[in-house]
Structures are given as C-alpha cells and as structure tokens.
C-alpha cells in the first residue's frame, strides 16, 4: 500500500551531492516530518519520491515496489509544492478540481470534495479567482487544497503552511491531523515550524547536507538528540552548548565545576542545556552565572541571553521577569535535563 522506502537514495547536481545514500522506511499510514536546514535536500527528497527529479542512485519504493521508473502520475501521490506551482490560467476551483477531472472523478463528487477542502482552508470565497488575484497565504492554501482533494496513497507536503498566520496555521494543522487520522494516508511533510513538527509527526527525520542525522519520535529527537546538530536544530530557541573539559571524572566549564563522578567521559564534552530548562536562581542541579546581554519579551515568556564569560546562553524565563541588560543573573538547571555530547565527534553521550 502506501508504505514508502528509500534504499541508498542519492541525488547529485553535476558533481555536487545533494542527497547522499539515504535509507529510510516509512510504514503505511505513518506521518513523517522532514526537517533540516535550508538547502539540506528536503524538497529534493520529496521530488524524487514524486518522480519529478531523476534519481542519481538507489531506489525509491512505494508499497514495496520500486518506482524509480514510474511517471509521477503513476505513483498515486499528491503534493504541495514549495513554490505552489498553481495553474495561472485556471481559477481556484479549476486548480483544485484538476486532478479529479483528470482521474475521471464524477462531477458531483468532485464539487463536494472541492467544497470541503475550500471550507477547511477558508478559501471558499475565492473559488472563482485566478491565482494572480490572491495574496501569498491564499495561494498557499490553494496549493494545499489541490493536494487535499485527492485521496492518494501518499501525501507530500513541502512547507505547506509557511505563509499562514499562526492562528490559521494552527487550524489547518489540526485539520491535517484529522485528515490523516481519517484517511490513514502516508504523509511526508517538510516544515520549519517546530510546533508542526512536534505535533504532527509520528516520526521526525532530521537532515543535514543530504544525510540523515536522526530519525525518531518527536519525544526522542527532542529529549535525546543523537548529536549536537540535532540538539541545536530541534527546539526554538536552540539548545545551549557549553564546551567543558573533563578531568578525573570532573566536568568543568571555565573553571566552574558542573558535574562530578563521571568516569565514562572523553576529555572534552559539550554540555547541552535547553533554554526552557534554565531557571533563574540557584540550586536545582548545576548552577551558572553570567551577565545579561539582551532581553526579549515574547509575551508568554521572556528570552534572556546571558554571557557566561565566553559562551552565550539563552534562557526562557517567566514573562514577569525582566532583568536589566548588564546586570548579573544566576541560572540553574536540573541534572536530569542536561545532555552531554562528545566534544570531538559531537555525538550524544549517556546522560548523567
């Protein structure tokens, strides 16, 4: 059925490798979110799966069958393109209905599905416009709608909500979740939005430079990043890292002892601390102290950037707290929330 698998999938443009021998199995009905820095090959992977980009090496499987040589239309997928790719000469309604018309879905049924999708995306009043007469977010919703009206084996979403406001994004996200639960279709979803990634994904795949850095459930990748890159990439604001030296089982940062009794560590470690795990004050586990550099009140929280004497850490503190830039501040974190990484290989180490 809709199971998807990549076997040593690679892609290169000329000499430049873009996707490098990726192996991945996605179960039928699974919701997998691809994340990674801009240019890491996310779109390229979706496009290869869709059959829009030739494969340089390896295989793409859908429902257990190698589809490398199948045309996109034979793969039974629907896709939201990052750049929308709306048909400029067709109205929104025709854009949405095109795939149904092509596949011979009957009129009434098509109308019904178009209506549903338009309803869900709040574009019902735009059905007779041409794409050029829409705002950016409206276009994106049409692109989204075009995929939704289909009932394919696999959905591919390439940053489908990036141009929507938070509220709408939340709504559509919920709808996608429902859709997924209702149809049980396999979904590959690219996003830069942490909340989307965390809430939608059965599993998250983190890519960097065309290589998979980690695959895991949202909890796994958030709680136990496989390496410094993943730790830093997942979570906003990003995880803080302190480069510590280890001697005789003592981990110290700039002369300050943070942990003791760890004989299993290499002589250089990176200590990872999420901003939300830092609290003002002392005594929860490890203590740090530094000078407040920038304070960013976000409403629900306040971000405080603190200079620890060399390293800059960000702490997410209570919105009521508004320390003065330049003032000293004490920060503390529980031992349980600390993550350790090898200072050289940057791989995760067993937690304290």
């Amino acid at each position: 059925m809709g199971a998807v698998a990549f076997r040593k999938l690679s892609k290169a443009y000329g000499q430049a490798p873009i996707v490098q021998a990726i192996d991945l199995d996605i179960a039928d009905g699974e919701f997998v979110v691809l994340v990674g820095p801009s240019g890491s090959g996310k779109s390229t992977i979706l496009r290869m799966l869709a059959g829009l980009e030739s494969v340089t090496g390896g295989e793409v499987l859908i429902g257990g069958q190698v589809v490398n040589h199948l045309q996109p239309r034979q793969r039974d997928i629907a896709m939201v393109f990052q750049d929308y790719a709306l048909y400029p000469h067709k109205s929104v309604r025709e854009n949405l209905g095109f795939s149904l018309k092509v596949r011979g879905v009957d009129r009434a049924e098509a109308e019904r599905r178009i209506g549903e999708a338009a309803e869900m995306l709040g574009i019902g009043h735009l059905l007779d416009r041409r794409p050029a007469e829409l705002s950016g977010g409206q276009r994106q919703r049409v692109a989204m709608g075009r995929a939704i009206v289909r009932r394919p084996q696999v959905f591919l979403f390439d940053e489908p909500l990036s141009n929507l406001d938070a509220k709408l994004r939340g709504q559509v996200r919920t709808e996608i979740k429902k859709l997924h639960q209702m149809l049980g279709t396999t979904i590959l979803y690219v996003t830069h939005d942490q909340v989307e990634a965390m809430t939608l994904a059965d599993r998250i795949v983190i890519l960097r430079g065309g290589v998979i850095e980690q695959v895991g459930t949202p909890d796994q990748v958030y709680g136990n990043p496989a390496n410094v890159f993943v730790g830093g990439f997942i979570g906003a604001p990003a995880m803080n890292f302190l480069r510590c030296s280890v001697r005789d089982g003592v981990v110290d940062y700039a002369g300050q002892v943070l942990l003791t009794g760890r004989d299993d560590l290499p002589d250089q470690v990176l200590l990872g601390l999420r901003p939300e795990h830092l609290a003002a004050g002392r005594g929860q586990g490890i203590d740090l102290s530094g000078v407040v550099q920038v304070v960013e009140p976000l409403g629900a929280d306040t971000l405080v950037h603190v200079d620890l004497g060399g390293a800059l850490v960000t702490a997410r503190l209570d919105p009521a707290l508004r320390p003065q830039p330049g003032s000293r501040i004490d920060l503390t974190a529980a031992f349980a929330n600390i993550r350790l990484f090898d200072g050289r290989t940057e791989r995760a180490l067993p937690c304290p």
């Binding site: 829009l52 996109p72 393109f81 790719a85 709306l86 048909y87 095109f98 795939s99 092509v102 289909r150």
Partner: protein, 303 residues
C-alpha cells in the same frame, strides 16, 4: 528627498516621470512615426484611388466614380473565382501550418541532446527566399524531373501530373505554402513554449494528467496568446498568398490556383488599372480585418 514635488515643477515632473498615459505616448511614438512615414500616405492614396476610375492604359485622367469599382468587383466572375481559391488556400494552409508548426515546435522543445538539427530544419524552409520557394517546389512537383514523382515511382505509386489538374495543382500549392509557412508558426509557438514554467507540468504530472492531458490543459491554454498571434498573421499572409502560386503554377491550370493577391498584382502592375486594383486591395484589407476581429474576439472571449 531629491525628487521634485509634482505640484511645484509640473512640466519637469512630466518629463522625468511620465504618468502612464505620457509614458504610453512616448513608447508608441516611434511606431506611429515610422508607420506614418512609411505607410500612411500610401494607404491613404490607396483608399482614394479605389474611388477613382484610374486605368493608366485608358489614356484618360483619373475620374472620381465613388464605389463603382466595388460594384464592378461584385460582378466580376474572376474576382469570385480567385476569392474562392484564396479561401481554399487560407482554409487549408492556416490550419495545416498551425498543426505542422505545432508539431515542429513541440519537437524542437524536446530535450534532445542536440537541438540544432531540429532547429535548423525548422529554419531552413523559412530562410529560403519566398521568390524562389515556388520555383523550387514547382521543380519538385514537376511531373518528369520532379523528385516527388520520382519518389512516388520508387514506392510503386502512379506518378501524378500535378499541374494538369486543378485539384493536384492546388494540393501542390497548399503543400508548398504549408512547408514554407509552418516555420513561422513553429518559431512563434516555440518561443511561447519556452516560457511555460516547467513546474506546471510537474504539478500536472503529480495531479495525474497524462501527456495528452497536459498538452490540452496546460500547453494549449498557455500557448494561446502565441497561437492567436501566429494565426492572425498567418491568416493575413494567407489571404495575401502571392509568390508561391505565382511562381509555381502561374495560377494554372487555367486560373484554378490564381489568388486574390495575384489578381491585384495583375491589375495593378500588368494591367495598370490602379483604380480597380486599389479597390481589390481595399476588399482584401476588409477581409483581413474581419478575420482579425474574429481572432481578437476569440482571445477576449476566453482570455
């Protein structure tokens, strides 16, 4: 701010910063000037002459006769015959060249590794001066020395004396015109094809549209402006078909392949009947504009 306030220095403002209308005037001026310089006087004279009895060979001064020339045209059996041939040529060669040109353009737009052979084959018919195309094809269709009949013979078919029959003559003329003019179509369409974003085909591919469907739903609609332009001008030139039948068949057999333009040419250049020739030209102009209006309406109706 360095820019002057519009209200204070109105004139300068107009010059440096023309409003849409000012700008439009500026942009259209060269065209208007050139056209005015080159054709307005001739065209005006043409219209005027069409109202005169102005046959140089009559040895009489031009005489104003109003619309008499047009009445004569209406009664002129030759006019109706050449108009018929012209209509046939237009009706056959315009769609013919469109189809052929479309095929050529699609072909030239395919991602072949070497594009130049296709493109060259697309251009050559066109680069061959019109004045010689008819002669050369007359040679090709020659019943004895022509390569067409030679091929027919080689394939075991009965050779045809092309220019002995109105039908085959017309066929040969039309084939030649299609050959010569499909390049024009192909070039315009090729250019149009090149501007269709690839991503639309990708989207259609994903949407499940096959090649034919994509062609119909994406290529054709997006190509429409180019097609209309090509059709307008191909139709106008088809109505003006002259060189190819003129050099190929001299309008023969009889006047079976004589066209309106040949008739105009004959009246003006050979018979020196400028009044009648001009009136015929005016008729041709009206016909052209009628067709053009139909096409323009076509874009507006669906565009």
């Amino acid at each position: 701010m360095a820019t002057p306030r519009p209200s204070s220095r109105l004139r300068l403002y107009w010059l440096t910063d023309p409003s849409d209308r000012g700008l439009a005037v500026m942009l259209l001026t060269p065209l208007v000037l050139l056209v005015g310089l080159v054709v307005v006087y001739p065209v005006a004279r043409l219209f005027r002459t069409s109202l005169y009895n102005h046959a140089l060979t009559s040895g009489m001064p031009p005489e104003f006769v109003g619309f008499e020339n047009f009445l004569l045209i209406a009664e002129d059996p030759v006019f109706w015959r050449v108009l018929g041939s012209t209509a046939i040529i237009t009706a056959v060669t315009v769609p013919g060249a469109l189809l052929m040109g479309l095929a050529m353009a699609l072909m030239a737009n395919l991602p072949f590794r070497r594009k130049w052979p296709v493109r060259l084959s697309l251009l050559i018919p066109w680069a061959l001066p019109l004045a010689f195309a008819g002669l050369i094809f007359a040679w090709f269709f020659h019943s004895e020395y022509g390569v067409v009949n030679d091929l027919l013979r080689r394939f075991g078919l009965q050779p045809v004396i092309w220019f002995n029959s109105p039908f085959w003559s017309m066929a040969a003329v039309c084939l030649t015109i299609i050959w010569k003019t499909s390049s024009f179509m192909a070039l315009i369409l090729l250019a149009g094809l090149q501007t269709i974003p690839r991503s639309l085909y990708e989207a259609a591919d994903v949407d499940g549209a096959g090649r034919w469907r994509q062609f119909r739903e994406i290529t054709l609609p997006l190509l429409r402006p180019a097609i209309v332009v090509a059709l307008i001008f191909r139709t106008i030139t088809a109505l003006q078909t002259f060189d190819i039948p003129y050099t190929m068949t001299q309008g023969g057999p009889g006047d079976a392949t004589a066209t309106l333009a040949m008739y105009i040419h004959e009246n003006t250049i050979s018979f020196l009947d400028l009044g009648y020739g001009s009136a015929l030209a005016v008729v041709m102009f009206l016909l052209s504009m009628l067709m053009t209006a139909a096409y323009l309406r076509m874009i507006r109706a669906r565009g």
